[in-house]
Each structure stands twice: as C-alpha cells, then as structure tokens.
C-alpha cells in the first residue's frame, strides 16, 4: 500500500539522478567541441545547475489540497422535488480550471464540465450545453482534489439532478451554471443496457423517476435561498450561531463571489 508514495519519490530521484548523470556527458561533448573555451562550458554547467535547482524548488513547492466531507443525505424524492434541472445528456468537454474568490477573500479552484442536453425531464436549461461547476482542478502549482465530486467522463451519457443556488454568501457567482445536487447521489451513468445507474452505489435509477409528478411542477427558483435562511434561523435558535453571525450570514445572501478568468 505504500507503493505509490515510494514510486513518486523514486520517479523524482531517478529523474534528478538521470539529469545529473547526463549533464556531464552533455557538457563533455560541448567541452570537446569547444575545448578552447572552458569558460563557455562553465557557463553551461551553471545554467544547468540553475535549471535543476528551479525545477527541484518548483516540485517541492507543489500545493496539494485534498477535500472531503460529510454529505447531506438526499433521497430520490428530495432530488426530484428540489432540483432546478433534471436532464439526460452527454459530457462534451471541460473548461480550464479557474479560481473563484469568495466574498471573504479566500480562493478555491473550480472546473466546468460541459454537459450537452438531449432530454430534459424537469426545468429549463439556460442553454443546450450547460456548465456543470465542479470543485477541484489544477492551476500552476496548486492542485485541489475533491473526493466527493463525481468524476464525469467525456463522451459518457448521464442523467443528472442539477441545481442553481440563486444566492450568494460563499463561493457562489452570479453567472449561469449548475451544480450536481447531492453530488454522487444525483449522478446516474447510462450503462450499455440503456439503463441509468448511480455513479457510486451502482444502484439502478428507479423507474418511478420518469413518471414522478415532481417532473411537471414548476421549479422553485428560491428554494435554496429559503433553505439557507431557514438554516440560519434554526442555528440561531439552537445556539450554533450567534446573533451577530446570523445577521452577517443573512446579509451576505446577496453578496456574490468573483470568478477569476484564466489568462
């Protein structure tokens, strides 16, 4: 089980050793070609040393963030009733990862998965291909791995329960995007038999989903905002948050985060 950790070490050590072994040969050749100019060889060695040092520093500086969490439990009934959009479609691509700066100033990395819809069961998508925002990705030396985010594969067909928060207060932005409601709980993969199975449990999607009365209901756009307000009121009553925090959270529901475009 320790194998992957060792492998990483070995790969880096091996690369560094390889470069260290090759370097003198390269330098020697250069030196043979220009025997008269030892200074040039020294300069070359110096450059190589600098490159290696920079490379090593960069590797050592890699920032790996691992995100896990305890998900709220959502039943199929919850997913049907509260999703803003329930749709079948195919993953057609992914965006470059980007930062979102929260209303408090901290940054986190997100990546959009492009989902081209072929059949809508509930709600109206804002476009034929929609952005499904997923936390995680890599930018420069920063990598964020989110264990709870379902891994959507390009070319694969899915049935997704999606929602649009429609309120601020954290990392939510005001542009058009969806999140997967319940994360793995709301992600169903189309199998070769044409049926949809949960991405995590492999449980088949109940056939009753396709005839649920919730599919004909109008989407309650303010549902998640009301839920947040109700949670803050509850948390004030149970003593989980103070009066001051309550005021702050309620006030921030209309304050949105900033998406930072990649250059």
């Amino acid at each position: 089980m320790k194998f992957p950790r060792k492998i990483k070490k070995y790969i880096v050590t091996f690369c560094l050793l390889l470069v260290a072994v090759i370097t003198p040969f390269g330098s020697l050749t250069t030196g043979v070609k220009a025997q008269a100019d030892l200074a040039e060889r020294d300069a070359l060695l110096k450059t190589q040393e600098t490159v290696l040092t920079n490379l090593y520093t960069r590797i050592r500086g890699l920032q790996l963030s691992i995100v896990s969490g305890c998900l709220a439990h959502f039943s199929i009934e919850d997913l049907l009733a509260d999703s803003s959009l329930i749709a079948i479609g195919k993953v057609t691509g992914k965006s470059k990862s980007y930062y979102i700066e929260s209303i408090y100033g901290g940054r986190n990395i997100y990546t959009d998965t492009y989902f081209t819809i072929t059949n809508t069961l509930k709600g109206e998508p804002y476009a034929e291909t929609v952005a499904v925002r997923q936390e995680g990705g890599s930018i420069d030396i920063n990598t964020v791995i989110v264990n709870t985010e379902p891994k959507l594969k390009e070319g694969q067909e899915y049935l997704l329960f999606l929602y649009s928060p429609k309120h601020g207060g954290g990392f939510e932005t005001q542009d058009d995007y969806y999140c997967i409601y319940g994360l793995p709980q709301g992600t169903f993969v189309k199998a070769e038999d044409g049926e949809f199975y949960n991405i995590e449990t492999n449980a088949p999607l109940p056939a009753a989903v396709f005839i649920s009365p919730h599919l004909d209901e109008e989407v309650d756009e303010d549902y998640f905002r009301r839920e947040a307000e109700e949670a803050y009121r509850n948390n004030l009553a149970t003593g989980f948050i103070t009066e001051e925090e309550y005021e702050q959270y309620m006030g921030n529901l209309d304050v949105y985060a900033t998406k930072i475009p990649r250059e």
């Binding site: 896990s68 305890c70 709220a72 940054r107 986190n108 964020v144 947040a228 925090e245 921030n252």
Partner: protein, 194 residues
C-alpha cells in the same frame, strides 16, 4: 472432509466481514500531531464534543494523531482551505454550499502524503444542534466524521460506520464503529509502519 471445508469456509465468511473503510482517494496521514484551533464562537458543549471526537480517533489510531488546541481563533471569516493555507489548523462554521454538512480541507506534502495543515468547516448553511434532534444535523457526529478525514480516512462503503459518506438529519453517530477503528488502526499501525 468436504463438510469440514464448507464449515470452515462458512465460519471464515461470517467471522471476517469485508472491510468497509477506505483511505482517502489521495493518500495522506498525520506525522506530527495536528492540533485544530476552534473558532471562538463555538459553545462549550460543542468544544467538549470536539475533544471527545478526536480522543476516539487517537485511541483507534493507537497514537496521538489529532487534538484540539487550547488556543482558539476569532476570525470565522478567515480564508478556509484550498488555496488559502495560512499555517493554522482551523475549525470554523462558515457558510458552505448546501450539499455538505461538514468539509475537511487537507494540505498534504505532494510526495510523502504528510498532512501539513488541515481545516474543518461545519456548514452554517445547514441546520445544526448539539444533539440528533429532528430536522438538525448533530455537530458531534459531523465533527467526528470530518476528523476521520484529517487522519486520512475516506468514505466507508457500508452505511453503519461514522465514515459513511452521507448523514441524515436527526441522526447521532457519535461512536466509532469497528470498521472506523480498523481503518485508523490500519493507517497508523500497519500501513505507516511498513
């Protein structure tokens, strides 16, 4: 002979249930004890629950891997987790998205997997109480789960352990199950010592 073999097979199947614990997807573990600093806005009862939670994990791991610092921090607006590492292991109650009851961000060394920093957030966007009262998430249960992520455990594949991925409202999961303990024991007494 065949009957004996069948009996042995049956016995082994019953007495050795398949493990349900997992190590977190990107393996990490604690080398030097992680002391978490709670936000000063938590109540004394919640703090007691946090201390009790980490104590359970330490016992299961067979060593002091995680603790609650006597120092608190007063900034619940401080940057949390990924991309915002500041050297302080924080416990917070910030607003997170509606999908999580709690979240753990771990900053691990890319090569060794050692935890350099860890932050835990109890999502103020969900209903919490210091009990499993109807309609609320129990702070103790959520924190116990998150502390398991800090020490390197992923989600369990069966529903009984504390480390199962989902938690419902009105549910108290305050005691580590055999599978949770086995996971912590494995990471710190078997895997890390290989």
């Amino acid at each position: 002979m065949f009957a004996l073999f069948c009996m042995l097979f049956l016995f082994s199947s019953v007495s050795m249930p398949a493990k349900a614990y997992t190590q977190d997807g990107q393996k990490h573990w604690v080398k030097d004890t992680i002391y978490l600093r709670p936000y000063s806005g938590f109540t004394d009862l919640t703090l007691q629950h946090m201390k009790s939670s980490v104590s359970q994990w330490d016992q299961a791991a067979g060593q002091l891997v995680i603790g609650i610092s006597n120092l608190s921090h007063s900034d619940n607006n401080a940057s949390f987790g990924s991309g915002s590492w500041d050297g302080v292991n924080r416990i917070m109650k910030k607003k997170s998205d509606e999908l999580y009851t709690g979240r753990t961000h771990v900053n691990a060394d890319f090569f060794t997997g050692y935890v350099k920093e860890a932050d835990i957030n109890l999502n103020a966007n969900k209903k919490f109480a210091n009990s499993g009262q109807k309609g609320c998430y129990d702070t103790y249960s959520v924190f116990l789960h998150e502390a398991g992520h800090v020490i390197g455990l992923g989600h369990a594949t069966s529903t009984v352990p504390v480390m199962y991925a989902n938690l419902g409202t009105g549910v108290e999961k305050r005691t580590l199950q055999t599978d949770d303990k086995s996971g912590a024991h494995y990471i710190y007494q078997v895997w890390d010592k290989q």
